[in-house]
Structure formats: structure tokens, C-alpha cells
């Protein structure tokens, strides 16, 4: 019997999350409609001024994603808490760090799909121009989704077993994500609007650095919270 390596096990965890998602499709559908509603609410709240809407579109887009991510992260660990499946994985045994990598990628991929779905909606509601630099835009979205998922996975593993879990997750997660959001909003802005001073590259580097920090710290911390003492 040859046990899978760290990355092999992570791949199995990721595939398992995709399988669950594919079988129910409930989570993706729910968060798509939730974030659609959020984006619509922003446009209602801001009124019909299309110039303001277009200028603030990156912010609304990321807030929509952030709110949806709380639901999606919570659900991702509700699945693991049901029947104590996460404990089952740890006892199989699967290395907790492999679970972390797999769960982060699973959550990030779901958010990334969501963000791609939201792009045409942003065109319709806020009249943004996607054609300017689509590749960089997709890269920004991807880096941002990974950045939300890395601390999100640690915190939702904690809050899935805590009292008042629905309050705990955003309370813990949002402050930590502030810098990532600032960077993601700015980077998105410069892919949707002209960027004569060429700031996009720096924001992308910054997003990459944030992702690296969150991923490595989460990687170190997750084993501590995944196992009961």
C-alpha cells in the first residue's frame, strides 16, 4: 500500500470537494444568487449615476465576492463538520496540511467561478469595460480568490466548531482581509480603467505577496486547528 504524497492527498481532497459540489450544485447556485443580489443592491443604493457606479464597480465587485465567500467558506466546513468527516479524514490518516491545500484550492476555485459569473453582471449593472485587459483581470480575480480562501479556510475550520459560528467567521476574517481587498480593488480598477501611470504591475506583485503570506501562515496554523487536543 503506497500512501499518496502531500500534494497527491491535497489533490484527492480537492477532487472530493468538487465531487460534493457537483453532486448538489447547491452551494454555487446559492452564492451566485446571493452575490447577484448584493451587486444589485449596491446599484440601487448608489442611484442611477452611471459614472459613479462605473468608478466604484471594482469595490462593489469585491464586496460582493467577500460576502459570498463567508457563505461559501461556512458551507465548506459545514460539510466537514457533518458526521465529523474532517476528523475522519485526519484519522484515515490524511495529513492536515494536505487538507489545508485541498480546501483552499477548493474554496478558491469556487469563488473564482463565481467571480467569472459576476463579470458580465458587472457589465450590465455598472457598464464597465472588460475588454481593456482581460488577462490581467482574470489574474487579479484568481489571486484575490486565493487570498480570501487561505485565511478563510483556517477561520472557517475554527468557527465550524465554535458557538455562534455565523457571527464568528466574518468577525475574524474581515479585519484580516482588509489589505487584500484594498489591493484587489485597486488592481481591478486598473484593469477596467486606463492605467497611464502603470500601477497595475505593482498591485499584482502586492497581491502575490499577500497570497504567499496568507498561504504559508495558514499552512502552518491549520494542522493546529484541524485536530482536537
Amino acid at each position: 500500500m503506497k500512501r499518496p504524497s502531500l500534494l497527491g492527498a491535497a489533490w484527492l481532497v480537492l477532487k472530493k470537494d468538487w465531487q460534493i459540489e457537483w453532486r448538489t450544485r447547491a452551494r454555487l447556485t446559492a452564492i451566485i444568487f446571493f452575490s447577484l443580489a448584493t451587486l444589485l443592491l449596491f446599484s440601487f443604493a448608489m442611484g442611477p449615476d452611471i459614472v459613479t457606479l462605473r468608478a466604484h464597480a471594482p469595490g462593489y465587485l469585491w464586496l460582493g465576492l467577500l460576502f459570498a465567500s463567508v457563505l461559501s467558506l461556512g458551507e465548506s466546513f459545514r460539510v466537514e463538520a457533518e458526521n465529523q468527516a474532517l476528523t475522519g479524514l485526519v484519522l484515515t490518516p490524511v495529513e492536515p496540511r494536505a487538507i489545508f491545500i485541498g480546501k483552499v484550492l477548493g474554496n478558491a476555485s469556487l469563488l473564482f467561478v463565481l467571480s467569472l459569473v459576476l463579470l458580465p453582471v458587472a457589465v450590465a449593472l455598472y457598464d464597465v469595460d472588460l475588454g481593456r485587459d482581460p488577462l490581467s483581470l482574470v489574474l487579479v480575480l484568481f489571486l484575490g480568490c486565493v487570498g480570501i480562501s487561505a485565511p478563510g479556510t483556517v477561520y472557517s475550520a475554527i468557527s465550524a466548531n465554535a458557538r455562534a459560528r455565523d457571527v464568528m467567521l466574518p468577525l475574524l476574517l474581515f479585519p484580516v482581509l482588509v489589505p487584500l481587498l484594498l489591493a484587489a480593488v485597486s488592481a481591478t480598477k486598473f484593469t477596467l480603467q486606463p492605467d497611464p501611470q502603470e500601477q497595475l504591475g505593482s498591485w499584482l506583485k502586492l497581491l502575490t505577496a499577500f497570497d504567499l503570506i496568507y498561504l504559508s501562515v495558514g499552512f502552518l496554523l491549520f494542522p493546529k486547528v484541524a485536530e482536537e487536543d
Binding site: 465554535a162 464568528m168 468577525l171 484594498l182 487536543d229
Partner: protein, 253 residues
Amino acid sequence: MTPILPLVVLALVVAAIVGHVAVPAVRPWAWKAVGALGAAMLVSLWYFGLYWAPPEQFMSDVGRILYVHVPHVWMALLAFTLNVGCAVAYLMKKSWVTDALAESAAEVGVYFGAVGVMMGSIWARPTWGVWWDWDPRLISTTVMLLAYVGYLALRSFTEDPERRATWSAAAAILSYVSLPIVWFSVRWWNSLHQVQSNPSTVDKPMVAVLRWGAVTMLCFLFVFIVKRYEIARSRQTAAMELPPLEAPRAEVA
């Protein structure tokens, strides 16, 4: 020299707290002595800050809030650094001492930080014309406070002591790691608002009073943390004692 100074102060605070915790003989009186010193320094700080120091050239008397506002935020930063140190120590080797110290440091840090931000807001009103502004320092300090409020909420919502200790240690590390990132990122996001002051950009008498204020607050920081630590320990020990070897009679019957 400036970059090392906070570390030296941190080391002194840690040494003082460890000494207070470790040496039973000093426990009854040391905190009282430091508290009395702090109170005396506070009284003289009123004199130095309000009369002795010159008014600031543009903000006149309003600028005097500097002498309490800045030390408060410094103390918050010190306390949070102590907190993360304890969190790392706890994860490396479990100990109820570091857990209790982490809890008290975080709570005292939130107190100092909240008061510091409030004073900053009061200062902002006459100088900037608004209570609140998109300022890197305001945003980063507030985000820091929110992160630690979340930390304290997590602690109070978790009943099992082991889980509470482990989970909150993880939350403490993530919050602390995000601090420098928040600080740098909001700086760039709003950019160029201001650069850090250092002794060469502040007049000498003002530096002196500021340092006086910082030492005053250090005394209070020490007393608060030490007393809060004792409370945390006494709450723990009730739960920490092992059950008796033989079952109490009522339990068997």
C-alpha cells in the same frame, strides 16, 4: 537607534512581567509600587504636557493631546506583540501561563488601542475638521483593534479551555501578521499622507514630554497586564485541577 528602542522596551516589559509572575515575593507589592509611580508620573504629565511644553506652531494647544494619544497606541502595539509572542509560545509548547498572558495582553491592548483611537478622533476634529478621515493610521489602527476584538470574542465564545487556547493562538498569529500588511497597504492606497515622526522632526521639549508620557503608560500597561493575568490564572486553575483519585462518595452512590 530608534528601530531597536521598541524592542528594548518590549524586552523590559516582558522581563518585568515574567519577574512579577515568577517571583512570589514581589507579587504583593511590586504592582502597587509601579502603579503608584505611574499615578505620580501621570500627575506630573499634566503639568509638563499642559503648561511646561510649548504649544505646537499650527495646532497650538490642541497638539498637546499628542502626549497621551501616541503613548496609548504605542502601548497597544507593545501589548499585541506580547500577545503574539505568547501565542507562538503556546503553539510550540502548551502552557496555561502563556495562554493566560496572551489573553490579558490582548485585552489590555484593545483597551489602550481603543482609547488611543478615540483620542485620535478627538484630535482630528479640530485639526482636520472631521472626526474621521481616510487616513492610513486611523484605518490600520482600527482594523487592528477589530481583529483583536474578534480574537477576544472567539475566546469568550469557546468553552473548552484547550480549544480556546489553540484556536485563539491561531487567530492571534493571523491578526498580527496582517498588521504590517494593513499598515503598508493603506499607506500606499491613500499614499503620501504622512511619514512617521522621529525625534529629529519633533522639538526637543515635546520629545521629552512624549517620552515621559510613554513611561507613564508603561507603568499602567504593566499593572493592567499583571492584574489581568492573575484574574485569568485564577479562572483557569479552578478548571485545571485534576479530579480526586478516588471518587467522592456522593458520586458513587
